[in-house]
Every structure is written in C-alpha cells, then in structure tokens.
C-alpha cells in the first residue's frame, strides 16, 4: 500500500469514525462508509491540508471512493 493510501485512510477513519478495515480502496464514501455530502466536503478539505494540494469543486465532485481520492492526490501533489 502506498504512503498516500495510508494517510488518506487515516483521515477517513478519523473523520467518519469507521473501522479501519472497512476503508478499502473500493469503498464508496457515501454507500459504504456512511458519509453525507458535507462529510465529503470536509474530507476533501482535510486532504488538501494534509497533502498541500488544491482540489477544485468540480474535481471534488468526482471523488466518490477511497481510490478516487488516492489517485487524485498522487497525480496532483507536488
């Protein structure tokens, strides 16, 4: 597992209060991890802080799974 994946999963566990083993790469934030749309806004903000990336709203809307977040961050972080 990549270092990005580890850090993303840690943030998801902390923000959503879910068990770490449920945060698989295929997990959907809304369908599998109990998030609502505002939780995703908050998660995106936490990713921006953690990785020093900007995630514009139109890109954030396409992040629906843990894997989507990891891929976006890996492609855009400096």
């Amino acid at each position: 597992m990549s270092e990005t994946a580890d850090r993303v999963k840690k943030i998801v566990v902390e923000h959503l209060g879910v068990e770490a083993d449920k945060v698989t790469e295929d997990a959907s934030f809304i369908d599998d991890l109990g998030a609502d749309s505002l939780d995703i806004v908050e998660l995106v903000m936490a990713f921006e802080e953690e990785f020093g990336v900007e995630i514009p709203d139109d890109a954030a809307e396409k992040i629906t799974t843990v894997k989507d977040a990891i891929s976006y961050i890996d492609e855009h972080k400096g």
Partner: protein, 419 residues
C-alpha cells in the same frame, strides 16, 4: 386542558454524567467547582468554573456512550450534553422504541442560552488565519441552538413539534413550560424538554466577567465561590451540562404504567422591561412570574414546600428574588424551604432551569431538599427563611416552585406537584 406529567429524567452536570450520581453528590454537599482546565485561564479575571468532568474522572462524562463519533467531531459541547441527557430521559421513560404513530406525536423542545460559542470563536480564527475556504462545512449546524432538538429528533425518529427556546438563563424553564403547553393543547403526546449549555471558553468567561457577572474573589478557593444569599457573594460561577425531561400526557402515561415523577401544574412568564442585565429593583418581574405560575396551578401558597431559587450568587439578584418570594408568600414563607443548587453546580445558563426542575422532582421523590452551600453569613434580608444552609434537609415535599431569570429581563416559573 390535558394534564402533563414527567416520566423520564436525564442529566449531565458538573456533579455527574447521570441523574442519580448528580443527585447523590448534590445531597452530599459536594461542589462541582474547580480551576478552569479547558483552556489556559491565567490571564482571565475569573479562573474558575463548574466543568463537566472528563471520562476518566470518578463521575466524569463519556460522550461516546450516546453520541456518534462523527457527530462529536462536528458539534459544540452543548449539543453533545443535550443529546446525551435526552437519551437518558427517553431510556428512563422506557420510550426509546415508539411506533411510527407515536413518534408523529412526540417532539423536542431543548434549547440553550448561548449555544456554540466555543466553536464560533475557534472557527472565526480559522477563517481569519486560513481563509473562508478552510471553514468547516459543519460549522453552522454544529453551533445552532436548535440543533439539540434537531439531532435528537433524527436519532430517535421524533416527528412531532421541533422547537428550541432561547431566553438566556430562563431557557430551561421556558422549554419545559412551553412543551407542557404543547401537550396540554394537544399538539403532541410526548415532548423531550430542557436545556443545555457549554460556554466555558476564553470568550465566554471573558464576556461574562466584563459584564461584572462572574465571581472573581475566589480564584484560589473555587469551591467557596458560589455562595448565594451569603454576604460575601460576588458573582456567579459558570457551569455547563444539560437537563432534559420527558413530558407526557397524563392518561397515556397512566395507561402504560409509566413511572411518574410529578405533574407540571403551573407555568408563569414575564418580562422586567427594565434593564438588559440588572434585575428590576423591586423584583416585579420575578413576582409576576411566580404569581402567574401559582395562579395557574390552583394550589394555595402554603402547599409549596420547596423553592429552587434562581439564586445565582450575584450581589443584586439573590435578595431581589427573595424579596419577591417574601411578598408573594407572606406568612407561608416560614413553612417552606428555599435553596440555590447553583451553589454546588454553578450556573448552567440555558440548562439551569431544566436541571433545577429535575432536582425539584427528585426532592419530591426522596422527600429531601438540597442545600445552599457556602451560606456562612446570610445577608440581613434573609432572616426568617429556611435557605437550607450547608446540608440537605429531610422534610415533606408535596409541591415545588422553580424560578429562572435571564438577561434581557426574562422570567419563568414552574410549579410541579407529586401525583
């Protein structure tokens, strides 16, 4: 009008995270006061408070018991205290599993005086230092006063009236009074009613201290600071926590064999129309509030055995309230007991009236009245009134009166009696 009774209680206080622990510590004359631990208060004029104790304390509060992890992260402390106290009350009443039809007729009226001040203060720093794009998407609904009622209704599926009183330190009493009327007038059969507060933060302490409302002479002896009716009193001690009751229509409660703590039989409200923080110099608002509650109750003055006073330990307020009680009750004042439990738990602001109403109900249940701590030298105007100094007192308690007065000159009084 339909009759309204109390069938469930919930408390989070500086003396305990549940009803029985808080009550036992109160009756044992314990104080919930101490140095402020939430933040570094060394530059504050007032450095003491009655904080809800952390989970590892002997009577500490564990938020995870009834509040989801995610919600704990999103909301201010007053909402967490309120959700927990509401859950306790529903569990106590045996009403956690109502049918959909019952839940259409069950609502919430749980307010606060200040609301999410700690979160507003900290998020304003985020906005200032990091910009608007870093403000939490949960900022607004994690701070709004009606979000205890909102969160509780969602958690338990309560689809009846959803209401939240905001009347400063009268909030808890108004919440119970208003909710009781909703049941009496057939808007609902069951109401969760009460108040909460969690405003112990730098801005909250500084604001009340600057308004000259807080005690500042007892920073080294916090347990001595809240001393209603004592001649050395110099302001209130801020408390925090929540009190919530289950109100239920009497015939419904009786039919299901519910445990009944008491009946809400009188509710009075008034405005001082005088000053934003100072009480009316003749206590006229307090008098009219109590007078209305007594008139609605249909009781005689001599039926009241216990008054839980507003009694915040401020130089002006305590004696004005006592003067109003004296004028209303006349000779009957010699037979009742009156105490201020703020001497032990501090002033819970929006939670005060609800927490203190619960203490009134427990006084009737156990036939014992809680003490006024630190009443070493009563002010001269206190003669001839049993203010229950220092220790709780066993006595008959058939009916009770609870007073709450708030900034803005808002007054509420509740009369309750055993069923």
């Amino acid at each position: 009008m339909r009759r309204v009774v109390v069938t469930g209680l919930g408390l989070v206080t500086p003396l305990g995270a549940d009803v029985e622990t808080s009550w036992a510590n109160l009756i044992a004359s314990r104080s919930g006061a101490g140095p402020i631990t939430r933040f570094d208060a060394s530059d504050q004029k007032c450095r003491i408070a009655c904080e809800v104790k952390p989970a590892d304390h002997a009577y500490g509060f564990d938020p995870s018991k009834r509040v989801d992890h995610k919600i704990q992260r999103q909301v201010d402390p007053f909402i967490i205290y309120g959700i927990d106290a509401a859950g306790q009350a529903l569990e106590d009443a045996g009403l956690t599993e109502m049918t959909e039809a019952e839940r259409f007729r069950a609502g919430c009226s749980i307010g606060a005086g200040i609301g999410g001040l700690p979160g507003i203060a900290s998020e304003s720093i985020v906005c200032h230092e990091k910009g608007p794009g870093r403000v939490s998407p949960h900022f607004v609904h994690g701070r709004l006063i009606n979000l205890i009622s909102g969160q509780v209704s969602i958690k338990y599926g309560l689809m009846g009236p959803n209401h939240a009183v905001v009347t400063a330190c009268s909030t808890g009493a108004h919440s119970i009074g208003d909710a009781a009327r909703m049941i009496a007038m057939d808007d609902a059969d069951v109401m969760l009613a009460g108040g909460a507060e969690g405003a112990i933060c730098p801005l909250g302490i500084a604001g009340f201290a600057q308004a000259r409302a807080l005690s500042t002479n007892f920073n080294d002896t916090p347990e001595k600071a809240s001393r209603p009716y004592d001649r050395d009193r110099d302001g209130f001690v801020m408390g925090e926590g929540a009190g919530v009751v289950v109100l239920e229509e009497y015939e419904r409660a009786k039919a299901r064999g519910a445990k009944i703590y008491g009946e809400v039989i009188g509710y009075g409200l008034s405005g001082d129309a005088y000053h934003v923080t100072a009480p009316h110099p003749e206590g006229s608002g307090a008098f009219r509030s109590m007078e209305m509650a007594m008139r609605k109750s249909g009781l005689s003055l001599s039926d009241i055995d216990y008054i839980n006073a507003h009694g915040t330990s401020t130089p002006l307020g305590d004696e004005l309230e006592l003067g109003a009680v004296r004028r209303l009750f006349g000779n009957a004042i010699g037979d009742l007991s009156m105490s201020s439990t703020k001497s032990a738990i501090g002033h819970l602001l929006g939670g005060a009236g609800a927490v203190e109403s619960i203490f009134c109900l427990l006084a009737m249940r156990d036939q014992i009245v809680p003490p006024t701590l630190n009443l070493d030298n009563p002010s001269e105007n206190c003669a001839g009134v049993d203010l229950v100094p220092h220790v709780a007192k066993k006595r008959p308690v058939r009916a009770v009166l609870n007073n709450s007065f708030g900034f803005g000159g808002t007054n509420a009084s509740l009369v309750m009696k055993a069923v």
